[in-house]
């Protein structure tokens, strides 16, 4: 479904990604593990079209999307819930969600249905729907961010560290929700530092260090890998 082929990305003259090869298949939940500054967000921003690859190819469902604008990539079906959430802080939660469905804005009935699903998934957002998104707690804002991404009905959902800054109990719930979203048919690429929790729900994973993908494999293989255990699970 998504395929990065030898993708290199630079910030000015410094290289942030070195020939990255990564793949997500239809229906999969793939985790991308890496420490601070390893390059996870850079991969995500490149897939979403916020950064242009200096070399290599990004393919999505047979098309080469490497030079596309972000809005075109969203329309193609890749939607990102970004690091730092990037909500519209002064707008109500409901307005944030409505704008999440911007590409479906003509389908009023569809938006109503999506909203119902979202409120079922995150009941607290129904209570808070009239409040400015910026006034919510960190965990609730994270839910708005994920919900906003879901409103676009993505084929592939990119989640950049959705658990960051959340209380452990909320994190657990967040991962359950992500698992459910995937089970309901959305492919997911999940960036995490919380390797233990992420590997519980993923089918496959990659490890990135200093802009190089250094390891890839099925969940069991990564869980058993000595290097992964030491670096990310602390066992």
């Amino acid at each position: 479904m998504l395929k990065l082929i030898d993708v290199t990305v630079k910030y000015g003259s410094s290289i942030a990604l070195h020939s990255v090869n990564l793949e997500v298949n239809e229906g999969e939940l793939v985790v991308l593990l890496g420490a601070n500054g390893a390059g996870k967000s850079t991969i995500f921003r490149t897939i979403s079209g916020l950064l242009k690859p200096a070399a290599g190819e990004v393919k999505f469902m047979g098309q080469s999307i490497g030079g596309w604008s972000p809005d075109r990539i969203v329309k193609a079906g890749i939607v990102q819930c970004p690091e730092g959430r990037k909500l519209f802080p002064e707008m109500s939660v409901l307005k944030n969600l409505t704008l999440g469905a911007y590409i479906h804005r003509k389908d009023k009935a569809g938006i109503t249905r999506s909203l119902e699903n979202i409120y079922e998934l995150f009941p607290i957002l129904y209570e808070k729907r009239e409040q400015p998104a910026g006034s919510l707690s960190g965990g609730q804002q994270q839910m708005v961010a994920i919900a906003r991404a879901l409103m676009a009905k993505p084929k592939l959902l990119l989640l950049d560290e959705p658990s960051v800054g959340l209380a452990p109990l909320v994190v657990e719930q967040m991962f359950k929700t992500i698992e459910k979203i995937n089970r309901d048919g959305t492919s997911v690429l999940l960036a995490e530092q919380n390797a233990f929790a992420a590997l519980q729900i993923a089918q496959r994973g990659y490890v990135i260090e200093n802009g190089h993908l250094v390891l890839e494999g099925a969940r069991e293989m990564l869980c058993d890998n000595e290097q992964v255990r030491r670096a990310y699970i602390g066992a």
């Binding site: 916020l50 939607v79 802080p89 704008l99």
Partner: protein
């Protein structure tokens, strides 16, 4: 006391004009971080278009205004497309310099085509209305009410329609807007169209009260920038409130202190408010 209320009305008229111009500047600043120094000159063009539509082409007042707004909407979109969009990925200073270039270009063109004369547009509404013992010309009432109607319309568009809210979305979080599939170019184009249209409307409403001449945009522009600095860069309520505050301050100080000092009042107010609140009245927290 009567003089005082008369000055309040005059202040509201001035404020209406200032607010409409400042709204355009603040909308553009909000989504592109571009201080469009040419905005006052779009205002001037709007006044000329209305003037000629009435005096040379025999249109009546309201159709002339509509034509002027439509013309400036097109000019605004052309500016975005031909001047500012190509500079989007260039360093920020380039767009600012370009807007000064556009400003000089528009003024020179106006002088070349229409000369430097001061022209007067006769108001079709020159009657006076007696309101609570105040005599107010109909034109002034029209300016005040039209400005309010435009601001309410703009507000409904921004808050109640999905397309309108893309402007605010982009102002509140640019990347967030990209990630929900909003097309940055379309929003910029639309914002320039609205801002230029508002400038044309303001100029056309004011034309029968003020004179029409090539450099008429410069002072309005300066005032509008005072207003958005005063109200908080990019803030919409700030632009509206700031516009009325400045209009009232000018008209009242012009009467009670000295009419020579009325422009000074604007800048004294600016210095004062920025001393008390360096980020402006409605400044948003840094993002």
């Amino acid at each position: 006391m009567e003089l005082f209320f008369q000055q309040i009305v005059n202040g509201l008229v001035l404020g209406s004009i200032y607010s409409l111009v400042a709204l355009g500047i603040t909308l553009i600043y909000g989504i592109m971080q571009l201080p469009n120094f040419a905005h006052g000159h779009l205002y001037m063009l709007g006044a000329y278009v209305t003037f000629f539509m009435i005096t040379h082409y025999g249109l009546s007042y309201w159709p002339a205004i509509l034509f002027s707004v439509a013309a400036l909407v097109v000019i605004g979109m052309l500016l975005e497309r031909l001047v500012f969009r190509p500079l989007h990925h260039a360093p920020h200073i380039n767009s600012m310099i370009a807007s000064i270039g556009v400003m000089l270009f528009i003024e020179a063109t106006a002088r070349k085509m229409w000369g430097s004369d001061y022209r007067r547009l006769d108001s079709p509404y020159d009657g006076v209305i007696d309101l609570f013992g105040l005599t107010i010309t109909e034109q002034r009432i029209i300016v005040i009410l039209s400005a309010i109607a435009l601001m309410i319309g703009l507000n409904l568009f921004l808050k109640r329609t999905v397309i309108g809210s893309t402007i605010e979305a982009m102002a509140q979080n640019r990347e967030g807007a990209f990630l929900v599939g909003i097309n940055a170019n379309k929003v910029s184009l639309m914002t320039f169209a609205i801002a230029s249209g508002l400038a044309a409307a303001a100029a056309s409403l004011a034309a029968p009260i003020n004179l029409v001449y090539p450099s008429m945009g410069a002072m309005v522009n300066l005032k509008a920038f005072v207003i958005i600095v005063l109200g908080g860069m990019g803030s919409i309520p700030g632009a509206v409130l700031g516009g009325y505050i400045l209009g009232l301050a000018e008209s009242i100080s012009g009467t009670y202190i000295n009419s020579e000092y009325k422009d000074l009042a604007a800048f004294a107010l600016l210095v004062f408010i920025l001393t008390v609140r360096p980020t402006g009245l409605f400044a948003k927290e840094a993002r």
